[in-house]
Amino acid sequence: MEQTKKKQVLVACGAGVATSTVVNGAIEEMAKEHKIKVDLVQIKISEVGSYVDTADLLVTTAMTKKEYPFPVINARAFLTGIGKEDTKQQILDELKK
């Protein structure tokens, strides 16, 4: 089935430098593997506010207390390997919605 709209996925960490780079790479790979087109945006967690109107999902290694109009998935599993398959599935489920 053809996707109607490319999903915008925010990938955020504290600095937008280290851990979001790893998570970004992992999601990119995953999307390719499942032939899903996705608009990945790597940012600092403090920049999420600018994307509330456009984003479909936030995947982050940083803690966030704020409420957003889109789901938030914790991405620590991509760094430690613990629970990685679960996290991947969660992201995949959101992308396929």
Binding site: A18, T21, A62, M63, A75
Partner: protein, 157 residues
């Protein structure tokens, strides 16, 4: 892109600090003395750790990957600290939970988006219980250097 600096002098075999701040100071000051980072690095890395914790519970030995913005860095490096005693670090992405960290990889990165391969390989170490346990046991800095070099394979970066 500058070449990554990595030798025995950034591998600290006995980090004495008993708080995360003391550990970050000890490791950061070593990098300042070597001119790899600017004087502002220690303060920045401590502040960043407070705001965005970097402790990671792993299958073997808990690690932390403190880092901060590129502007505090002169030369890209990874400093490895083996803690004498486990020290509580906040867990990445959690509000209050902490983890007793025994191994610290302090990242001094000089570019924002270009270190994917390096970081991916570093994370592979965290997912390898055997390597983590070996790093804790090993008493020879040169062997630690060689092990990490092998795992990260600097020649491909």
């Amino acid at each position: 892109m500058t070449k990554l600096f990595f030798d025995e002098s950034v591998i600290l075999m006995e980090v004495n600090g008993e708080t995360k701040e003391a550990v970050l100071e000890e490791m950061g000051n070593n990098l300042i003395q070597k001119g790899l980072v600017k004087d502002s690095f220690v303060k920045a890395v401590i502040a960043r750790e407070k705001e965005f914790a970097t402790g990671l519970p792993t299958a073997g030995v808990a690690v932390a990957i403190p880092h901060t913005d590129v502007e505090h860095v002169n030369t890209k490096t990874i400093s490895v600290g083996i803690l004498k005693k486990p020290v509580a670090f906040g867990i990445m992405g959690e509000e209050e939970e902490t983890v007793n960290v025994e191994l610290v990889f302090m990242l001094a990165m000089d570019e924002t988006h270009s270190q994917l391969a390096l970081l991916q390989k570093l994370m592979e170490i965290f997912q390898n219980e055997e390597t983590l346990k070996y790093l804790m046991k090993e008493t020879d800095a040169t062997r630690i250097k060689e092990t990490i070099e092998q795992q990260i394979d600097f020649t491909t970066l």
